[in-house]
Amino acid sequence: MLRCGYALFWLLESVLLICVVSSVKGEAVVTREGSNITGIPIISFKWHHVETPYLVAFWVLVSFLGKLVIEANHHVTSVIPESALLICFGFILGGMIWAADKVQTFRLTPTVFFFYLLPQVILDAGYHMPNKLFFTNLGGILVHAVIGTCWNAASLGLSLWGCQMGGAMGDLDIGLLQYLLFGSLMAAVDPVAVIAVFEQVHVNDVLFIMVFGESLLNDGVTVVLFNVFDAFVSLGGPKIDAAEIIKGIVSFFVVAFGGSLVGLVFGLLISLLTRCTKNIQIIEPGFIFVLGYLSYLTAEMLSLSAILSIVFCGMCCQKYINANMDENSVQTVRYAMKAFANGSETIIFVFLGISAIDKVIWVWNTGFILLTLLFVLVYRFIGVFFLTWILNRYRLVPLEFVDQVIMSYGGLRGAVAYGLAVMLDENKIKEKNLMVCTTLIVVYFTVILQGITMKPLVMWLKVKRAAVTEVSLLEKLTNKMFNHTLVAIEDISGQIGHNYMRSKWKYFEENWMSWILMKPSARKKQDQVFDVFHQLNLKDAMEYVTEGERRGSLEFVRNENSIIDFKKKSESESFDINNANMSNDHGAIRDPIPSVSLEMHEQIMKAVREAEAINAHHLLDQHLYKSRKQHRHRFSRSHFDINRDEKEVQEIFQRTMRNRMKSFTSAKMGVKPPKTIVKHTQKEQQQKPMKILSRSFLGSEGDSASGYDQSYMRATYRAGAGIENPAFMPDLDPMDLLQIPPWLGESELDSSMVALSHRAQVDLPRTPSNLRRLAPLRISTRSTASFTLENIPDTQHACVFPQNCN
């Protein structure tokens, strides 16, 4: 570590040297123009030849070295976030440069920042954004991003102006419009700073996505506000009338939606491209970077919100790219993006520090600066709490108080604000330097101070943290259980829930978007379970290799037939059988236990237990019945799948029927099932078996769109005598028995796959009339309504539902 430090200082010295050299006005440098050379130069010092790229590369190197030094000691970084340390490092560097030539030659210019440093960070953010979480909370995020930012800007500007009117700031030449402009550039929460601070704190998902999403989406507002107020400042006070204000509001919508649209278009473009890049897999990853950057520039060119554009580009394409591209390419994209983003962040913070050491901007006005700081904090808190109070009335899971505190405290300002401040026109705004100085101070305050105190605050308030542990089996099971319960509740109450919308979107997405944007082979692999399986296999494979390397070779894997002898007999039995059954899924480490050290045995046991754990988790993942929410309609135009969903649905149905038959025949036989509360009369008990059957075929939701006429299902029948006497059920309409339940019918079930309960199979009466009815059944599986209606027997129907019977 010390050596690194020395190397760093040596490099810094050379940096200084270069700066000094470059700032000296040209004399000492030998140029290439050979008009006054007297002989052939063997070697010449061509500084100007390489000046710009050299400096760029050098600064990048210096920033990275700074990061190296900082990260060397984990104790420091766990207390002070890395971003703060980088800024301090920038201070030191800036100080050294300034000491060398008394002039600030390097600073973070808006062009470099907005065009070369920011896009990668945002692209990375968009690409790794958890889409589901984002869209679930989109309402709240939008409210905070739009209304919150406007509130921040307006309140800050107006308050400062009020204070100036009140004389708190001495003699400043800033008008109301300029204050509003200043407010608008200070208002925006900065994504870079938020990432930098929150990534070390690991708060719970919802909180993180609210702050982070807000920081990304508020760019739409910031751009508009800044441009509008800039234009107002140029136009001057008198020219502002209602028309201009309306134009401002309209421009917000245009900028925001336009930017998102541009991003979406580019995202789709990338997805389409990756569909065809099978032959150039080596540069496949390049596409996303190039096209992402282009989306940023395109939006910027059209004066739309560039950040929104690149965010939506990343968010839109992530799924399809990951499906279409080769595994190596996916990894490459992931790592390269992280590297670029992290590198950019580092450079941004270092330069933020360096930019401070610039005498030009050292304009101090106590009132202005302190009041700005105060107002920024206070109004953030007020805004967040007020908006969240409103939001909580509509949210399902309200945001807690401590979460709101962290949200307010996490409203960090960063380099975007500084960049915008530097972009101010000093001809129009006399006090630009003061504003820049104030902005920098606010940025330092938020990033350094709030960054340092964030983690202790989170711990002190006991904010819910992100879950990092693995899910236990019981959790998984109970999770599934809850899903099923929720679906059951929705069924019972017959209402459409949130899930309806989501399932509609899923339907659209699977059938249209995936078809266009994903490779056919990728589409087949979309099964989540398969993905889990795949990941597990990969993990196992890596474990094998490390284990093998530890033992010297992979020889041990080859002894597959030997069974391990365990201390615990039962484990071994289940393990053997597990292996026998699951051998095609993934094998386990099998090795004859020699009379080796106990340690080795322990290792194996541990590995075996892990394998067992994985097996168990794996089994659950593969085989748990999906709740109806998760059943998807799979329509592939080019591939006929054996649809597991329908099999599952059938299986569940069969089982339920079987269980019911069991419980009610036992009821009939006099053995009361333990849980029946309602007492039935004898007659009812006899009728029950058949009632259940026919009723179970009833469409569930009375108002459901299956168009199913329920009334006829209540065929009147004499009291049946149970399973043994099919002859006593003449009136049982076979339609009832053969009727495909509408929910199965909807999923395009081949009728041959309809599982009749064993009772139905037993009882299928074979009268000629029924045979006739059997035929149409096989042909039209979909329109259950139409042909069943025409085959309604003329038995009396007890119209149970007066409103449904016509």
Partner: protein
């Protein structure tokens, strides 16, 4: 609102129900209609066979258990209790309903372990876990695999080594789960 009259007079104690459950009157009416359509024999209360007619529940692997759990409380299901059938689901899951917010921290109330614990002895034995697993997993899973899963699940959660999961252990193993978020249902109008 359909053929049924939209006045609140049909529902007894409408005001009080609204206050109790926090539902709007439109919502309450809709639930009442649903109640009436479920209650085939017009008995004024629901019974298990009314629920069994629901196809969705037949498709639900734990449909039977849910019905049993609902009726285990012994309340005759006239409308007022049914309108708080969300409150029953509160019983079941001890989480917040659409509007209410219960600050009680263990979200896995006695209700949810009742879905496992059929003989109501307060513990989930291996056999009961096996039954649940059988209901929730597909048919391709063999008996031995089920056994190993059940064994493993009990190992993970069973702290006092009595080879069964008591309610406290169950609660503990689920404390990482954010049940409040999961067990909430929002409805679209």
């Amino acid at each position: 609102m359909g053929s049924s009259s939209s006045s609140r007079n049909k529902i007894p104690n409408a005001q009080e129900l609204m206050r109790q459950t926090g539902f709007s009157s439109a919502h309450l009416l809709r639930l009442h209609d649903r109640f009436e359509s479920l209650d085939r024999d017009n008995r004024g209360y629901l019974s298990p066979d009314d629920f069994e007619a629901l196809g969705g529940l037949a498709m639900n692997p734990i449909g039977g258990r849910i019905i049993e759990a609902f009726f285990s409380s012994g309340i005759p299901w006239t409308f007022p209790p049914l309108s708080g059938f969300w409150l029953i689901s509160v019983q079941l899951t001890e989480t917040e309903t659409k509007k209410e917010h219960s600050k009680s921290s263990p979200a896995a109330g006695p209700g949810s372990s009742n879905l496992y614990d059929l003989d109501r002895d307060g513990k989930i034995s291996r056999e009961e876990l096996l039954q649940v697993l059988r209901a929730m997993l597909g048919l391709q899973v063999t008996e031995e695999q089920l056994q190993s899963i059940a064994e493993r699940a009990i190992q993970e959660a069973d702290l006092d080594k009595d080879d069964a999961i008591s309610f406290d252990e169950f609660k503990k193993s689920l404390e990482k789960m954010d049940i409040d978020t999961k067990m909430s249902v929002s409805f679209l109008k």
